[in-house]
Amino acid sequence: MFEEILSGVEEMNVQLDNALRFHQTALNLRAQRQEVLAANIANADTPNYKARDFEFGKALGTAMQGGVPAVSLATTSPLHISASAPVTNPQVKYRSEEQASVDGNTVNMDTERAAFAENALQYEASLTFINGMFSTMQKAISSQ
């Protein structure tokens, strides 16, 4: 009896996990990209700093296809519920230079600001999707 409930819980857990995994990974990557873009903006006046970025779509694809190892919870008992999440480790590359500056800096503030604003919006979109999934699940489990 207990075993059955447990396996049921685990089954549900895995389904919840799978349902949220895509948006979780996307959110993670958006946060990382935000960081890289913030670094570009921060270093707009640093000599020899090269602007960097990564391709979001490609990084998400790699993470979802399991191209990178996943981290999983260590279980010390067979009764523990296992869980794993893909590690997001995007390949950060240097931006191609648009306008050379004398000090070797390649940050183009307009490009960075635009990318930063876009990325922030996409991050919020991911949050909205997750919130939507949560409210759908709430509706499904509430007795009406």
Binding site: Q34, A38, D45, T46, F116, A120, E124, F134
Partner: protein
């Protein structure tokens, strides 16, 4: 790595830019100083920025003031025989501050500061939305 790194990156840049603003203010204030703290004509100071990785992954790089250098430009020489620091010929060597350059520096620093302040406010909005995830 944590998403709070965004704040650190923006803060490091704001810090660095305010140091730059400080040196600009100091240069502007001393544009007419014939004597610096060391008794010699005041030399214009410039900051040198350096990128610093904020965490082990090295993705987020903040910025810091690596050093403050003194401009090697020759000082302005004015004829003022009444001045106590005038030389035998009556010339006084003033500071080597170029007010135009300082103004440009000031505008650039304040714009960069604003940019990073905006990065921080965006980061704050995103974090607030993230911590209220699933509560609506």
């Amino acid at each position: 790595m944590s998403s709070f790194e965004l704040f650190n990156i923006a803060a490091s840049a704001m810090n660095a830019q305010s140091v730059r603003l400080n040196t600009t203010a100091s240069n502007m204030a001393n544009a007419e100083s014939a004597l610096g703290a060391d008794g010699k004509p005041y030399k214009a100071k410039q900051v040198v920025f350096q990128a610093v990785p904020m965490d082990a992954s090295g993705k987020g790089q903040g910025v810091r003031v690596q050093q403050i250098v003194e401009s090697a430009a020759p000082g302005r020489v004015v004829y003022d025989p009444k001045s106590p620091v005038a030389n035998a010929q009556g010339y006084v060597t003033m500071s080597n501050v170029d007010p135009v350059e300082e103004m440009v520096n000031m505008i650039s620093a304040s714009r960069a500061y604003q940019n990073n302040a905006e990065v921080m406010s965006t980061a704050k909005t995103l974090m607030q939305k993230t911590i209220s995830l699933g509560q609506s």
